[in-house]
Symmetry: C2
Subunit: 411 residues, 2 copies
Amino acid sequence: MPVTTHGERLIALDEARRFVAENVRPGPTERIDLSNALGRVLAEPVAASYDYPPFDKAMMDGYAVRAVDTRAAPCNLDVIGEVPAGTAPGRAIGPGQAIRINTGAPLPPGADAVVPVEETAPSTAGVRILSDCKLGRSVAPRGSVRAAGQVVLEPPLRLRSAQISALAAAGAAEIAVYRVCKVAIIVTGDELVRPGERPRAGQIVESNDSTLVALTRECGGDPVSLGITRDDSAALQATFSRALEFPIVVAVGGMSKGTLDIVPSTLERLGVRWLFQGVDVRPGKPTAYGIGPGGQHVFGLPGNPMSCLVCYLLFVRMAIDGLRGMAANPPSILRLRLDVGVKPARDPRPAFLPASANLAGDPCVRAVKWHGSGDPFSVGAANAFIFQPRGDAALDSGAMVDVLPMPGMIG
Amino acid sequence: MPVTTHGERLIALDEARRFVAENVRPGPTERIDLSNALGRVLAEPVAASYDYPPFDKAMMDGYAVRAVDTRAAPCNLDVIGEVPAGTAPGRAIGPGQAIRINTGAPLPPGADAVVPVEETAPSTAGVRILSDCKLGRSVAPRGSVRAAGQVVLEPPLRLRSAQISALAAAGAAEIAVYRVCKVAIIVTGDELVRPGERPRAGQIVESNDSTLVALTRECGGDPVSLGITRDDSAALQATFSRALEFPIVVAVGGMSKGTLDIVPSTLERLGVRWLFQGVDVRPGKPTAYGIGPGGQHVFGLPGNPMSCLVCYLLFVRMAIDGLRGMAANPPSILRLRLDVGVKPARDPRPAFLPASANLAGDPCVRAVKWHGSGDPFSVGAANAFIFQPRGDAALDSGAMVDVLPMPGMIG
């Protein structure tokens, strides 16, 4: 069994993800206006507010007729008026009569079909019907698509523009969704300065805070950045106490076992019970997951930018999904053809390699050029990660490989 | 050549898209804080602000040593101090000496390698080095990943969390991006009421406004909803005059040739020159594209909700992309295996069918159950559209088909 450098057991990736899945429950819901629904997750079924269509509706521009009157086509009918869209059905038609009608308008009483304008010709006496027309032609009967009360969308469902389209058509001006869960982000490390500050000797520019703020938004959470905290017990305790007011806490850095890695012990003193500390995956070995005293989901992620990104997608995202009512499933994995082979590493751990996936045309994926774990730039060319089940076994060019997409990979 | 019901020529889909591509130019740029960069498009190259790493950096927790001193391993070295991360390199090491060092800390003067803690053992006299260590082991030399001034990311590039990670690491606190372009949305029709209002006789609930607001955000634009405008020349003229203050104008409904379809003529009076009116595609035949008097990109989309969504993705999105510096390419098309065959329609036009694509595992796509163009609800189950090159030719189960993804299909 793989162990950490200090002898703790490293758990397998699937086992680690199961721990998260088993501990996450759907969070609270709220009612919001449909105009704010993009990206939210539907929490209750939505039924049609009224019959759709709400009346027998013309599906073409043309003439509302009695189908029986078109049997003798070509034939002439008297045009006794017009029903524009948006008006109530008015005058009824009788035998031998037609009413000019536009797409979307209600059929007048007595009419049972619409002859499309293409199948008519002007006539001095009215309109000339060029071909026989079946009963119900170009008419959508009232309630034929959905009757009032019939369910249109079922929860849980992530709301994109297509779903908003369906909800709007159902008359759902207000809907029940899961609350957006807040994710506290704490970056730790004495050596860190913010982007834009010039690093002094020994210091390094911190990039995980900006990244996790963006990634949290992409994953449907609401980031609360608590900034950079020094590797100091009192400072960490103060910051983590604030962080534990939120349902998800992500602490970055300080999770491995150097002399200054006091992050896990500080969290323990605040009541966090670790469910795992160390996962058999590269990058991400120091990843930890625990439950806070109020049921908070607490994640410790490695400080290396690539590791931090991968482990957020592998673990933290599951908690966000679970809290917003979606199955806390492992992240969706694509199968793609490997464009350029991947060499074996010495490390046998299962690995995720930053990669560029191209789904258009003949879909394929290749690893981006990468200077290894000390390279925070190459991920800028990546939109996915290639999964290498055994880090010390090559992946051959042309092989089908598993790919973990980053948010927004398509679209 | 396909023609409209009134004899106008319908242009082919590719030709229509070429018109848009050829007329769109990159819009203005602005400088923004990196914290606001998610979803924006980079407009200028970003170079590393400083050498990365900014010093010879330890890549493991362990002991900084002179590699030459480990040749005799196993052997003991004197530990003369510690360099925590975030401190300036202090005391130098000499022959036979080691300094305890943490990942990320600067190598002390004199040291040229780091022995990982796993390859050491405690020793009364200092530290016991268990194996020989090569020069430069576990050290990232200053500037080895990027030297100051080397380019990290090139424009144009859509900024997701991975790109923000790379920019933050480069010290780019502020970046140049294309401005988010405003998209005016005008829905026309006497028969329309807003979601939440109860339709009176002859009226129908309008769903395109909410949909296009969401879709514009998903496509990286800034929607400006101008609401529902009646089919009245003066009202339309007033609303379109306001709309033409924006670089993209999307008018929904009133584009086909019913007696009340006065939208195209009103826009013409305001100086819009149509480049096409009518595309040989289903849905979307009435789609029009023109250039306003100030170079505005003016789109007329069909009022049918599904048509409106498809045509926005096919045409309007190209203009948004072009204005934000990205190639105004036709939308990305995936190739997926068709899970359930598609029957031929009578209409020979190339067709887009609302579909559900599943990319995990064995990727495939199938059309969603759909009651035809009068059904505004089934699109709620869709995340893509299947392209049927000839509407009157079946697509067989198992065939590879072209798929137009909706935004957010993955991720």
